[in-house]
């Protein structure tokens, strides 16, 4: 396996690539405007989980080179499917919502097949997403804020490199939207 090549200067490229991947899927529906606002952090009511390039540069500088070894990427087609399902929820009748949420839950679970060889931070983001997807499926409903958190987690999962601050932001966003860390306990 080749040694790490990602440097702090590559962060913009890394981020841009993830956002472009997402926008490529989303553009079919929204013309990409939504993602442009994500990237600039100007989306109304949308926390900018990407944190900004400068914050990420600082995170990457803190991480040692051996932590940035190459990892397996998540399955792009499953990520695309998850993205499409999240987009579909917006237009789904409430009576049909459980079917879409079940598909989303199952799709996210299948992401583990490749995620098991991905970085620890990717796995943390996926765990948060899976937990939220399962909770939403069990509740049979999802709010706009929760959808926004789903979208952002999927964007982060598509990034070649995820740092701990991003994983923490994703965790926090799901908790803020009502997916509490203890929510399976009696």
């Amino acid at each position: 396996m080749t040694s790490p090549t990602l440097r702090a200067d590559d962060v913009d490229t890394n981020l841009q690539r993830g956002v472009e991947d997402f926008a490529a899927g989303d553009r079919e529906r929204t013309g990409g405007a939504e993602m442009t606002s994500y990237y600039s952090g100007s989306g109304v009511g949308t926390p900018n989980l990407l944190g900004g390039a400068s914050a990420l540069r600082a995170d990457l500088r803190r991480e040692r080179p051996h932590d940035r070894r190459d990892h397996e990427q998540l399955d792009r087609s499953l990520l695309k499917r998850a993205r499409e399902l999240v987009a579909t929820i917006d237009n789904t009748d409430i009576a049909d919502l459980p079917v879409v949420l079940e598909s989303l839950d199952a799709t996210v679970t299948q992401l583990w097949l490749k995620a098991v060889d991905a970085s620890g931070q990717h796995q943390q983001v996926l765990a948060a997403l899976e937990h939220a997807a399962r909770s939403a499926f069990r509740a049979g409903t999802v709010t706009d804020g929760q959808l926004s958190a789903f979208r952002e987690a999927i964007i982060v999962l598509g990034l070649p490199t995820v740092v701990s601050a991003q994983a923490a932001e994703v965790r926090a966003a799901f908790v803020t939207e009502g997916f509490g860390p203890m929510d399976i306990m009696d």
Binding site: D67, T109, Q124, A127, H131, R171, V175, G180, M182
Partner: protein, 287 residues
Amino acid sequence: MQTTTTSPHRESQVRNGKQVRTVLVDTSLLIELQKTIEEATPVRQALMPFRFKAASSYSRLEYKRAWICRWANIHAYCCQDGVNHIGDVLKRIQKAGRSRWGNRRLMTMLSQLIEFHGMDTSDLPDRVLVARLREHAKRRALAMSETFASELTHVFRGTHCVRAEEPVRERRTGSLDAAIADCRPDNAECRIEDFFIEHRQLFLRIADAVEKLDKPSDELAALAEHVRLADKDPTHLRDNRHCPKIADAIIAIDGHAMDVFAANNPGEWETIADALRKELINPCRPT
């Protein structure tokens, strides 16, 4: 702005001539606030009228010991060599539980997690299931640590408990550091001794109230016993085998300036609130 004293909580009680009710939130309710939105909402609503919501930093220690450390334990089992299947994790917990921890709660937590995510019926490969379990346990430990104070306006630090303030850390290897180191009289860095001396009368009032009960619970009986021991020698509390025995009293006295106590374990808190002459509310079981 009218203020009665320079103390921050006193300041908060009267603003613009309006009385601002204050509440001390016990660990039991801080846990409820981390549960499903359906379970957390009644608690959140009950606390909403209180403009000032506080907890004791000692609650953070209880919260860490009771929940965060357990998730970190499950995470650690998943990371052990030779763990290739979820069954291996369960076996190791059962084996260790007999000698080191009361494993019933750990097994309950793990079983609920496995069932919640359908890992028991999943067709994913074993190593993927272990990775999923590991990451979900880690997510819970980290998220709980990060969200402890999210519902509060203030945390009292009367005992200056160092163990309570230590964060859960994720090492570069991905493992978690959630261990709570032992405190003994020669290494304890907190001020629990000073705290006890300063509030001795309140501690004794609680012990008196417990001793008047016909059948105090085991927890209350232990509390009274250790308050009496600390009364003879306050350094008795500079030991983490002893201070947890009076945890509820520490938490209540740390926040005794609050108007109301809120807790979900009335067995102990009714006696403590009565002794300190505070109103007690239980949002989980409204009257």
